[in-house]
Symmetry: C2
Subunit: 398 residues, 2 copies
């Protein structure tokens, strides 16, 4: 047999290949890795989950193990809907929520529902590399808009929309963005919302990290400004468990919601109902905010340790953006050194970082890189940053 696969699957996948090679190298037990993005297991409520699973199986086992609805378990959807009030979005109904296999599936579903080949869409520059990968499946023209320390560049946003009135949607991560850790200021949020409101763009707001704010003040979701023009993605991955693969789309546009449901019902029928029920039971019987607080205390300490080590060990000329939450820090090398060069040299000394390249649609050999602090010991952070600083200094002297 001569296998002939689809054009879609045979397209080059820069993001996928780049990160696969980095994560493979970083996985060696001898390597101190800041390259990945794993939550710390402190964020997994294991004992409470044991109680929740036992209760669900004892009381509703035949429902938890049977086929279920595509939209997802109603009590879990009701929880997600209500949670939006903490982000300034009122009036969300359980019926607006579709449970997905992590918010990553939400990206793929929206891509399928919205994009034909050649369609234009906007993203922050840089942006979450898996979002780029996911959109690439549908072959759109991606228009990157610079993200500044206070959020998306509103002038550039306005100009890009004006020059591309036919663009279909924009993907943004306004809180502790991956990879930059940046958060939109209130002023940028409000101006961007005004610009977007006047546009024809469907706004996709991804929001995996906003619950992990350990200092400063939270801004409202774009859903509060834009109503049904904004689809909001959510996930339990960073606050309860990524392994359960439970996320959601909040879609208040009824026409789009119906199509997303059709698509998911064909793609995989429904998200595993057993985990949905266990999670809902866990949320009913426990104080999630108290649980998240423990994670935040730990992440704050980790972030502060890492920022202090970066101040201490990285040579002058290497800069980074402080953060108030999330899981990542974003740094920039001086002219003349690329992040890939630093990655290679540091890996030889046993430290892995994630070069910025795969987070950009077009730029390559960039000077930015991402480091993750959520899942490293203090000792690893100290030792790793010391080595990274020495490596930077060596490269700068060349």
């Amino acid at each position: 047999m001569q296998l002939k696969m689809s054009r879609k699957i045979m397209k080059p996948d820069f993001q996928g290949e780049f990160t696969a090679s980095i994560l493979a190298a970083a996985a060696s037990p001898d390597v101190i890795s800041f390259a990945g993005g794993l939550p710390n297991p402190v964020s997994f409520p294991i004992e409470a989950m044991e109680k929740a699973t036992a209760k669900v199986l004892a009381e509703q086992g035949a429902i938890a193990l049977q086929y279920s609805s595509t939209q997802g378990y109603q009590p879990l959807r009701a929880w997600a809907a209500k949670r939006y009030e903490t982000m300034g979005v009122y009036g969300v109904d359980a019926d607006d929520i579709i449970i997905t296999n992590g918010s990553q599936q939400a990206l793929e579903m929206i891509g399928a529902a919205m994009l034909d080949p050649g369609d234009k869409m906007l993203v922050e520059n840089p942006t979450y590399l898996v979002a780029l990968q996911s959109f690439h499946l549908f072959d759109p023209e991606i228009l990157p808009v610079t993200i500044n320390p206070d959020g998306i560049d509103c002038d550039e946003l306005e100009a890009t929309i004006k020059a591309n009135p036919e663009a279909k949607m924009i993907y943004v991560i306004p809180n502790f963005q991956n990879p930059t850790g940046l958060t939109y200021s209130r002023a940028v949020r409000e101006r961007a919302a005004e610009i977007l409101k006047a546009s024809n763009l469907l706004v996709l707001e991804d929001n995996p990290y906003s619950e992990l704010r350990f200092s400063g003040e939270a801004g409202s979701s774009f859903g509060a400004y834009l109503g049904d023009q904004c689809c909001m993605f959510g996930t339990f991955s960073k606050i309860v468990s990524p392994g359960m693969r439970i996320g959601w789309i909040c879609c208040r546009n009824q026409e789009l919601k119906a199509k997303l449901l059709n698509y998911k019902s064909t793609a995989d029928l429904h998200t595993n109902i057993f985990c949905q029920m266990v999670l809902a039971q866990y949320l009913a019987d426990n104080d999630l905010d108290a649980h998240i607080e423990k994670t935040k205390v730990l992440y704050k300490q980790k972030a502060e340790t890492m920022m202090a080590c970066m101040e201490k060990y990285l040579p002058e000329g290497v800069t980074f953006t402080p953060t108030e939450g999330g899981m990542f820090l974003w740094a920039e090398l001086p002219e003349g050194i690329t992040a890939v060069e630093l990655y290679r040299a540091a890996l030889e000394k046993g430290v892995a970082i994630c070069p910025g390249d795969p987070f950009y649609e077009t730029e390559r050999d960039v000077r930015t890189f991402r480091v993750n602090y959520s899942n490293s010991t203090d000792e690893a952070i100290e030792r790793g940053m010391k080595i990274l600083g020495e490596t930077c200094a060596e490269l700068m002297q060349k």
Copy 2:
């Protein structure tokens, strides 16, 4: 905002709309429904699952709740690989298995990996309606090949391949096919395998029901005849739990496997690892065959009850194909009455069937219909078939 969705999502979905309307009508508590396809909860090992979840969380909680690999949990893959020996396929390795969100996701993944718009592929006629829906997402030209009581029509298969040498793949369900309940005879299996071996077709063998054989002798999987030309889909949905959404693809073609993994890693990263580990623990600690035996005893009795009632109550001229396993029976009305007419008339009297229409790529207003027996009480089967028989007789007199 003016929402403009993708062409793909806006295409008419005959299968989806047809079955949604039927299942909505059949869901009324007053209706005796033979329209769906739910396993009987007797097939859910609830207590054993409680023990397995407690053990996994106590011993490996931090792994079960963390991110995991796209390919899936190794012990579960090893189990699925070994299980193929019972279907005559030897030498399958855990590394050949990709765990999916039910085998339904496997359909979507293969469609994405193989099909460009206009590509040709073969299916049995009729075939599983969700497979048609899933392939339709990729806009292929679908070439249906008649399925006879002893399996696919080999002459037609040969002619179709000859006339369409560029066709990319064929989707078959050789054991207790959905919707017909038919199984390929050994002779048909062998001849079809020869024809397929000489072709350029990737063979997709779906196999959700073969474990549910309650009489007769099982045939070998096409994977035994065709090696890496055959991708085999499997699922735990009919033997342990559909709610956990755990299925798999066995793909021994390394090039295709790599692309399927890339695709899944973008689409939803991985299938929920918690349920994968619980299932693997359940399989390690329990005798699955003894468990399946209980399900088979029940389904045999249900099938026999339904077949006896069909003999007793359906008027002469209405025929059906007996089955030796699975969950469905397939019947045919005499000329002059369509299955949709019967569906409508019977629903008015409180009985729901599934007309054959959505199982065909092109034929409409067909005379065939599917009835499910796995999840009805004996009383419901008796009463429902009596009503169905009366309704048939009335329509035949018109």
